[in-house]
Amino acid sequence: MNSSQSPTTVGTPSDRSTQFVPVEGGNQTASNAGTFMAVAYVLMWLCTVLFVLHTWRKTRGIQRRIDELHQAVSKLPQDGG
């Protein structure tokens, strides 16, 4: 299999995509390209949202524990320990 038969084996810089140009009716002729695009967008945003949610929950959890500790310490007599 050589480079003229399959785009997967293209090896030289000149064979690569070097520009993007619009085409007429691209949305209609794209076959399952829309599915790949939708999956990519869903995956990207899902990862980002999960990362933010995880960080947010962790922040709240740590903050709550700090507040609990401060509260517990404040209940101790000043000369405690």
Partner: protein, 252 residues
């Protein structure tokens, strides 16, 4: 609300507006590219490039903070180094999620061992290794130094990713780089807003959120030590100790 909080919420609002506008123009106002570029799947490009450049921003933050930590260890430097590696791992994962799906339509396969893809994978693996090291090896001085050294070494690989496509060729498109033909003018606004949202606005937001976690963990450890020093025994029964520290019940 502190000034820092105000800046954070302003950035978050700007990001939400930018990303909404980017999505609207990508799908409503930007034409589909030629089939050899993936056709409709080429619209992945507008965020794919933004998050790819986000690796350079977050990796750069990881590099600077890690180098600073190695020279002059501090909680802040460690927090930012940790945030940098966490965020770089996320951005790398986003690139590795989106790129192969676009490649499947443009090249016919999900993955090729192209120099740029391979060097990117190597960098992402390094950032994931730092995250796993910090998650499972504890948070002692030696672990922090090792993670910081990895953070410096991992970022040294980032310029290699960028230049690999020029030096060694491969399949990866060179549309917006030296030697590329560029984007059609009708595609430039979508690209610009994708970069503004994912490279300019999202990295600082995530770095801020993640560094706050690390700083709060350090604060929790200090508070716990203070509580133990003051003999927090009776009232600490329902509190779990931070990782690596004795629990209050254990002192009874």
């Amino acid at each position: 609300m502190t000034n820092k909080d105000k800046i954070f919420y302003a950035l978050a609002a700007a990001f939400a507006a930018a990303v909404t506008y980017a999505i609207l123009i990508i799908f409503l106002d930007t034409p589909t590219a030629q089939a050899t570029a993936g056709g409709l799947a080429q619209k992945i490009f507008y965020f794919h490039v933004g998050v790819a450049m986000g690796i350079y921003v977050t990796g750069g933050a990881c590099f600077l903070a890690s180098a600073l930590y190695l020279v002059r260890p501090s909680e802040a430097a460690n927090a930012w180094a940790r945030a940098g590696s966490d965020c770089a791992a996320l951005f790398g994962t986003l690139v590795l999620c989106s790129g192969p799906l676009w490649a499947k339509k443009a090249w016919g396969v999900y993955w090729v061992w192209d120099p740029q893809l391979t060097t990117l994978l190597l960098s992402v693996l390094i950032y994931w290794a730092i995250c796993l090291l910090r998650a499972f090896a504890g948070d002692g001085g030696a672990e922090r130094r090792f993670a910081a050294a990895l953070g410096v070494m991992g970022t040294v690989n980032l310029p290699i990713i960028y230049f690999s496509v020029q030096k060694w060729g491969g399949n990866h498109p060179t549309v917006i780089r030296e030697g590329g033909g560029g984007l059609d003018p009708s595609m430039k606004p979508a690209f610009l807003w994708g970069v503004i949202s994912m490279t300019v606005l999202l990295p600082p937001l995530l770095l801020w959120l993640r560094s706050r976690v690390a700083l709060l963990e350090a604060n929790l450890e200090r508070t716990w030590q203070e509580a133990l020093a003051r003999g927090l025994v009776d009232s600490g029964d329902d509190l779990d100790a931070p990782e690596g520290l004795p629990n209050a019940q254990g002192l009874r």
